[in-house]
């Protein structure tokens, strides 16, 4: 299966949310990275056929998704960022309902639900009301419902938000395993979630794709442009004003700040890391 996005444009009043975006998505994990307001949600909404685009087309195996309609949505699994669910439902009941809305046969649904509850580690609490779940547990319920029906296109909007580190690893590994058979579009702010599993990374900013490539390619592209500099609190502020800075680390010998730029300050030690992708200007 292949999703082809061509010259996609969407405007909200004066603001252009997506500006001539073109992409091809095939099997594997595609990471969608970008700051707030970059256009990630708009792209996801268009792919889930929730909003109408102004220009462009989205093809699924060469068929326009708006014309495919329900047939396209049968292939779709979507995990939204919102966590408000039917508070009175148990986890099991919620998944049964979602399976019904997805048109999954009752017997098949039962098996899938049981399996997914184990995968997302909610089997023990499957008969408790979702209203009393923690944020992370609600995330897992949402992930489980997205995986119902063996979707061919899985869209995950911040799937690891609210999860503890071990759960994040589990989810990440599970997604990596299933992604071999489906297209996964993984929208996130957390680079470490995708750097190991993403087939390619799509950097989006102000509605445009500024860069696209495998994680290795992207990291290679900024070689020599990322460094670490020891500093103190007084000099940190000046550095932040002058350069594009990333994380600030506390070490035994003092503070260290990450700097990204074509020209690095004197004394800066080059490093090879993916996190500076975020503060690329």
């Amino acid at each position: 299966m292949e999703i082809t996005i061509s010259h996609l444009t969407k405007r909200f009043g004066d603001k252009t949310a997506l500006d001539d975006v073109s992409l091809v998505l095939d099997s594997g994990v595609h990471a969608l990275l970008g700051p707030n307001g970059a256009g990630k949600s708009t792209l996801i909404n268009i792919l889930t056929d929730s909003i109408v685009r102004d220009q462009g087309e989205v093809l699924c195996n060469d068929h326009e998704i708006t014309k495919l309609g329900a047939k396209y949505r049968e292939l779709l699994g979507y995990m939204p960022q919102q966590q408000r669910l039917y508070e009175n439902y148990t986890a099991e009941e919620f998944l049964k309902y979602m399976a019904a809305v997805k048109g999954i046969a009752p017997a098949t649904a039962g098996k899938q639900i049981a399996e997914l509850l184990q995968v997302v580690n909610l089997w023990e609490v499957r008969r408790k009301k979702v209203g009393g779940f923690s944020g992370g547990m609600k995330q897992r319920v949402l992930l489980a419902q997205a995986l119902l029906g063996n979707p061919r296109l899985l869209i995950l909007d911040e799937p690891t938000a609210g999860l503890d580190p071990s759960e994040r690893i589990n989810i990440r590994n599970y997604i990596a395993a299933v992604a071999q058979k489906m297209i996964v579009l993984f929208a996130t702010h957390v680079v470490s979630d995708i750097e190991c599993i993403a087939k390619d990374v799509i950097l989006i900013r102000d509605g445009r794709i500024c860069q696209k490539g495998t994680p290795v390619e992207l990291i290679e592209s900024i070689q020599g442009k990322v460094g670490e500099l020891p500093c103190d609190l007084d000099s940190l502020e000046k550095l932040q004003e002058r350069y594009c800075t990333g994380n600030v680390y506390q070490r035994r010998e003092g503070l260290r700040v990450r700097i990204v730029g074509d020209e690095l300050p004197e004394g800066c030690l080059p490093v090879r890391d993916s996190s500076p992708l975020y503060c690329r200007r």
Binding site: P80, R84, E92, A105, A109, K129, G132
Partner: protein
């Protein structure tokens, strides 16, 4: 507090409701005055000109002038009606002592009869206190003022209906919606996010309440002043027609201030009640039910309990009673508290203050102490440890379960059915009076189409009746004295009633003779189902019950999906659009059908099981109140027609509520909008504004609009 107040007015929905409420109030005011039938009461211009004629006259001179005019046959009939009406209105004008004298006489009489009947100690105290209050006005002068204008200000309850809807909408937008969106979850974690926050919020809403009250009543005052004028503001309150028995010692200026003050307190208590329920009720559905029970109960108590009943305190000491502020002031009345008569106005003020403080404190307390996050409870049906195999289901089943079980619609319908069953009262009397018994006896023997056989029978009865009349006449002639004549007359009293009953039958025969398929049948039961005379009230009450239930049960079907954000997720699934919409629609139809069946099934059963179905194949126009153009329909066809109309009305209400909820995206706002659009016209119709019979879906919901 000012920020909250400003935020409230900035909400578009609030501004829309305020403007709509003011326009509605204006429309109702104008409508109530300009729809007067000139052959029954003076029109606006007639009243105004007649008042202008007598303005400035001494009361005695004015009365004499009006009497002369009303007896003058050269004056147009409508104008004479105007003079008569004005004469009635100013009948108490002049010295207050005349009225006081009448009351003293009645009081003295009641004291004389105390020895013969048991009057309680309280009754004696009450009567004595009333007289004491009235005696303080001895020597006062009752002047001539345009009472109609004052009635628009003091006695126009429809203004308060509009006011309550505005208050509910404001509280819903400003408070309940924020609660439903989970905004209080964050606010409560802040330093000033509990006690201070809720006090400011409530204070802002109370300030808003005052503003709404002033706007509405300023409108009433301006319209009344423009239409009729207000007369001499220094005149005593007793000068207003209907207020002669008041215990308020104030002139009209002061009375307006007192009236607005009392009304403001009533509005404050209403708003505090709404806020208290919004705080305490976890869901909008519970809020809706609580409000419906409290307002419905108050209305029933106020309009249903007699003033002389031993539970009359419930009639007056309730929210609806206090909202009738004008009536509170019009007649001095005591409420019995532990055997002591206390002035109704005093009781009202104390009630407002005590209940107001309790509600305010309760709102603050519960808001601060409420636990918002619930623990993860096990579902009640999954308490067992037995491992069940998980099995999915189909969409329609899932949706039905969600709506009926999880949204508690089935529970609501069961409770509603229980309430209808509990309140079910069989028809007590099939007859209007004694002659009706005989009329039914006759008509049952010839019910159906008017044939030669029935004509022959009727002819025979006619001859019997004539023979009887002749006999009575002869016996009375033989009686020597008037006393004996009246004894003869009383001896035949029953037969006279029988003759009256027969005469009713004869009147029917002459009426149906020109109607194709016209027939004879005992129509009392069908009259109740076809809107005859006071049956229109029952039609309106049933329609209102149905509309409120439909709104309560279906408002959450779409609005909950939007509130939780689930709609966005559902629409990305293969069956989350058309099939889901279709499932919701069919479930809604099912709900509407059940509600309809409960209401009208029980009503039809109640009437038809008592009166039977004889003659229902005859033309419905055989009943005089049904227009001739429906003569082609049989009674059963007409009942089916109005049933279909009502069902269609309910269905359209359901469809409209769906549409409103998909726009409003909030349960409470859906309820507020739906009540304003569909329930409010019925309430206004019930309160006497007949034009609302033809507004929006009311013609379908009421059925009997022909």
């Amino acid at each position: 507090m000012w920020r909250e107040h400003k935020k409230l007015w900035k909400q578009r929905a609030v501004a829309v409701f305020v403007v709509a409420g003011l326009l509605l109030n204006l429309f109702l005011l104008l409508r109530s005055e300009y729809s007067r039938q000139s052959w029954m009461e003076p029109t606006v211009s007639c009243y105004r000109s007649i008042y202008h004629e007598i303005k400035g006259m001494e009361p005695a001179k004015a009365k004499s002038y009006l009497k002369k005019k009303s007896n003058n046959q050269n004056i147009a009939y409508e104008r004479r009606i105007g003079y008569e009406t004005m004469l009635d209105e100013i009948s108490r004008a002049g010295s207050y002592d005349e009225y006081l004298e009448e009351r003293e006489k009645d009081y003295s009489k009641s004291k004389v009869f105390e020895g013969f009947r048991k009057s309680s100690k309280y009754d004696r105290k009450d009567a004595a206190k009333v007289m004491k209050m009235l005696r303080q006005f001895q020597g006062s002068t009752v002047q001539i003022v345009p009472s109609r204008g004052w009635a628009m200000i003091l006695l126009f309850f429809q203004t308060d209906i509009a006011g309550l809807v505005i208050l509910l909408a404001a509280a819903a937008v400003s408070f309940m919606q924020e609660k439903e969106r989970g905004e209080y979850f964050f606010i409560r974690t802040m330093k000033r996010g509990r006690g201070s926050f809720i006090i400011y919020k409530v204070s802002a809403l109370l300030l808003f309440t005052m503003e709404v009250l002033l706007l509405l009543y300023l409108e009433n005052i301006l319209v009344a002043w423009k239409m009729y004028g207000l007369g001499d503001l220094n005149a005593c309150l007793q000068s207003v027609d209907g207020f002669i028995g008041t215990g308020v010692a104030a002139d009209l200026k002061q009375s307006i201030v007192l009236f607005l003050g009392l009304k403001l307190l009533a509005y404050f208590v209403s708003m505090l009640l709404i806020l208290f329920l919004m705080t305490v009720c976890g869901t909008s559905q519970k809020l809706y039910i609580c409000l419906a029970v409290i307002l419905g109960g108050s209305s029933l108590a106020y309009w249903g309990i007699s003033a002389n009943s031993w539970v009359s305190v419930l009639k007056y000491v309730n929210l609806i009673g206090f909202l009738h502020t004008g009536e509170m002031m019009a007649v001095y009345r005591n409420i019995g508290l532990y055997g002591f008569p206390v002035s109704y106005i005093t009781v009202g003020i104390v009630f407002f203050i005590v209940v107001g403080i309790l509600l305010f404190s309760g709102t603050v307390f519960f808001f601060c102490e409420q636990k918002i996050v619930s623990r993860a409870k096990r579902h009640i049906l999954s308490q067992g440890k037995r491992q069940r195999k998980i099995r999915g289901y189909r969409l329609f089943y899932g949706e039905t379960k969600k709506i009926l079980y999880y949204q508690r619609v089935l529970l609501m319908i069961c409770i509603f059915a229980g309430v209808i069953w509990w309140n079910y009262t069989a028809v007590h009397s099939l007859y209007d009076d004694e002659s009706d018994v005989y009329y039914k006896e006759y008509v049952d023997q010839v019910s159906g189409p008017y044939t030669k056989v029935s004509a022959k029978k009727i002819k025979q009865w006619r001859e019997e009746r004539l023979a009887l009349e002749k006999q009575i006449h002869q016996e009375k002639r033989k009686a020597a004295t008037d006393e004996l004549k009246s004894i003869v007359e009383s001896g035949y009293a029953r037969e006279r009633k029988r003759t009256e009953g027969f005469q009713v039958l004869m009147n029917h025969i002459s009426y149906i003779s020109g109607i194709s398929n016209g027939g004879l049948f005992y129509e009392r039961g069908y009259e109740q189902l076809t809107g005859y005379e006071m049956a229109w009230k029952r039609d309106a009450v049933l329609a209102l019950e149905g509309v409120l239930m439909v709104i309560l049960t279906v408002a959450g079907i779409y609005s909950r999906e939007y509130e939780t954000g689930m709609m966005r997720l559902l629409r990305t699934t293969s069956r989350g659009r058309q099939e889901l919409r279709s499932a919701k629609l069919w479930i809604g139809v099912g709900i509407v059908t059940v509600i309809y069946g409960i209401i009208y099934g029980s009503e039809f059963y109640r009437i038809l099981s008592a009166f039977g179905t004889k003659g229902w194949n005859c033309s419905v126009a055989s009943m005089a109140h049904i227009p001739m153009y429906l003569s082609g329909l049989a009674v059963v066809d007409y009942l089916a027609l109005i049933s279909v109309m009502r069902y269609l009305g309910f269905f359209l209400v359901m469809a409209a509520v769906y549409l409103i909820s998909s726009r409003a995206k909030s349960f409470i706002m859906t309820v507020v909008y739906s009540i304003s659009i569909f329930a409010l016209p019925l309430v206004l119709y019930l309160s006497g504004v007949k034009v609302f019979k033809y507004v929006l879906l009311d013609p379908l919901l009421l059925g009997n609009i022909f």
